[in-house]
Symmetry: C3
Subunit: 340 residues, 3 copies
């Protein structure tokens, strides 16, 4: 054994395997989430295998941290989207690709492609997150890009972000500046401040993106409170580009039941603007039960219904039939989520 080790070291010294490499501690992580979705839009219906119905879409990532001494640490994060129903991957490490420097006292500086501060409320203060038939993003116009040619509703490339340290008495925060670098609607500046203490978590965020001569602006305020027998959620989102605007509101709850949770949410959106097809309201009601087989593996079910009015034509899932203005969409989803 010692002999073998010596050989490998000798071969490594040969340069056979390139530059010497310090000890590495890369974590490979991700989740595979697949479900059966039956959905309707207007008079049409589809049955499909869909993915990403429980809290997060399917993904594969690589991340690590290094202690640099003196209270300083560095880290990286690369994460790709996976569609396991077909095996397709999307957009390289477009979910997140960052490098960070951080200290316990000063917070974290993070560079690369990352979530925008205005993303987090829509995701955190919703019992279904942004995904699945009950996802809070289903009636948010343009998700995950934004109104018009904006691209920054969920993520921004070429960004520099700063995160407040912990230890500020429950205060937390994220601030981001992202350069457009010649891509219309890709720049961003914004921030989020929140307060978390025991059962309470509240946060507000503001962000803006230049799109031509206009600014795409997002304001969002929300929170959650864990009463123990029930956790309540509420969020308000207003985003606009020029005279086009949408206002979204959501309330929801999750109730622990044995090894699972019952989740329910009600959301509403109202959209107005100068263009044809922009006026309309939508109401989404969703209820589901998720059963945790372990901390990593969950069986879930959800039913959701969107009542569209006016020009609104939202649907409950990617695999739904095309939305029809003013017509209802509904869907039932049964799936499994396995994190690793």
């Amino acid at each position: 054994m010692r002999q073998q080790l010596k050989l490998l070291l000798a071969l490594a010294a040969m340069g056979a395997f390139g530059a010497a490499q310090g000890q590495s501690s890369v974590t490979v992580f991700g989740s595979i989430d697949l479900n059966f979705t039956y959905s309707k839009a207007g008079h049409a219906s589809t049955k499909a295998m869909d993915q990403g119905g429980y809290l997060l879409p399917s993904r594969l990532g690589f991340r690590g941290m290094e202690d640099l001494g003196g209270g300083l640490a560095a880290g990286f994060w690369l994460e790709t989207a996976v569609l396991p129903d077909t095996g397709v991957t999307q957009g390289g490490f477009g979910r997140r690709s960052t490098v960070s420097l951080m200290t316990k006292d000063l917070g974290e500086l993070r560079l690369g492609r990352d979530y925008t501060p205005t993303f987090w409320n829509v995701s955190s203060f919703s019992p279904f997150g942004t995904v699945g038939v009950g996802g809070s993003s289903n009636i948010v116009e343009g998700w995950p890009l934004g109104l018009g040619r904006a691209r920054t509703q969920a993520r921004a490339s070429n960004s520099a972000g700063y995160f407040l340290p912990r230890g500020l008495g429950g205060l937390y925060g994220q601030f981001m500046f992202a350069a457009a670098e010649g891509v219309q609607g890709a720049g961003y500046r914004g921030g989020r401040l929140g307060y978390e203490s025991g059962p309470l978590n509240v946060a507000a965020a503001y962000g803006q993106t230049a799109v031509g001569v206009d600014d795409y602006r997002t304001v969002t305020v929300g929170g959650s409170y864990d009463f123990g027998v029930v956790k309540a959620y509420a969020n308000h989102l207003r985003h606009r580009l020029g005279r086009e605007r949408q206002t979204n509101a959501l309330i929801g709850a999750s109730v622990p039941v044995g090894a699972g949770q019952i989740r329910v949410s009600f959301a509403r959106s109202e959209r107005s603007g100068p263009g044809p097809g922009t006026g309309g309201t939508a109401r989404q009601f969703a209820i589901g039960y998720a059963h945790n087989l372990s901390k990593r593996t969950t069986l879930y079910s959800a039913y959701s219904r969107i009542n569209n009015r006016g020009n609104a034509a939202y649907v409950v899932a990617d695999s739904s039939p095309a939305g029809v203005a003013g017509r209802r969409s509904s869907g039932l989803q049964l799936g499994v989520n396995h994190a690793f």
Copy 2:
């Protein structure tokens, strides 16, 4: 050291690295297989570096299992095709992307993109598998997609599969239903039943895929028997789409010789149908020697010759010159396969 750990934990608690993650045990696996291939088709010849000549194509994957307690387990599998001669990767995790729930007594439920039941006989009951100049698939029309617009000869997307548990006295089986989801020739339903006991392994499979108004249907029966001094293989495959059909038969053997095996196979295909260019027969003879440097690393050689008749125009390798109807193709391959 303890101090450093505390710092990292404190930083992780800061949320610097996102959601908390349970302990993970992801296995990174795969193989790199490269070879030199000299091949001819009609009067043309090529010399090329080719890949995937020994049992499996080159690939990189990520997989893991989780014990859920009470006899239940969950697992995932993501596997991408790699062409290491040029570095190109293909189709995301298109080789396989699945999530599974399983118990020792009830078997395995597997969702995602996976091999079809009708794939396995062609691969298992061939001394060369389906790859390299001697591969059983060289004279199987349409491989790995199928006849006409069928896509399911080897794999299917959007599939739900069930695998019988072990402990049924040697009986094993796989059953699959895959939804087409709007892609012509992508749906599938089929199954495979086999029996393995000591040296004997036999299996039969049936599968069908709707293609327009027709069904693409595959029936395959085969087996292997390990006599110790020689392992014998035989397989029969019949697939058809409307009035187009092909019948394939293969017999082969592998003979352990020291740390290696001599492998030999003889296969025959006969194709008929209404369209121009569909009538023809082909005979493939292949012989090779593979030398195992370890369980993971193998040097291999193979020679193969395909005698085409009528409209048959099969070739021995991807890097061969284009096939010529009724003309012979042959090839010699020397390579290395390294699994990790």
Copy 3:
């Protein structure tokens, strides 16, 4: 615990997770490098987040080695380019995808896509490597492909390489043959011989690639000497295709200062040829300071200026404005490199 292990083994035996796999020791490695670059070309200027400014571009890889006994070892290497500013990945494992067999006494045989022997001098004998605003490749025409339709300045696909063993009294060497396989300018044959002893490292390389009726030929000679208080670098590169040619020369130095290095280089290129726009010279001056937070994490800064003359139109960075013939380009870069 033992029970759980048994269950997993039983499930694995079920074939639930495919072919049995020997113990694996795959290393996941790479680096994320992001910086802020302010650059000018002629009268235009840009500010951008750019990547890969310190020694190596951002990348993610998988590699491993296996001791085969008897002094023989096998290994593999898969490495992809990552652009973490946007998350985009490029060209599969196009940075390197190889399998190797090697012994301590006989050296290494390496197959696949790899760096050409003529690449290494330009990278090794430069204080900035080939990357960032100070990179030696900024004024090398056609980098990383070569003059005209040549593709082999930095890497070649379908290659067989041989590396001399260590223990030849400081002599080292790499020889490569790569097949074009129908791609214009993709074939390669060449070699590199060097000598390293204590502070001294010198090497010369020659390579050629058929492009139509001409050969693309590269000759390069260089070295470095580590005086302790300063490490000096020099390299000379001449490459030509038919009557088009370019000659490059570089001298540089790195000076250890505490936990960092001051790096400085001066380079010159002269290009001539029959076509319009080929005549011109360029001079590049670069200076920078890199501060090592650890062996894996570095903060770096660099300033570089290229004085173009005649038709030369080189720029200091990918994110620079388009080069203008005969006009200066300059840039300032501040960044972080984190290897894992």
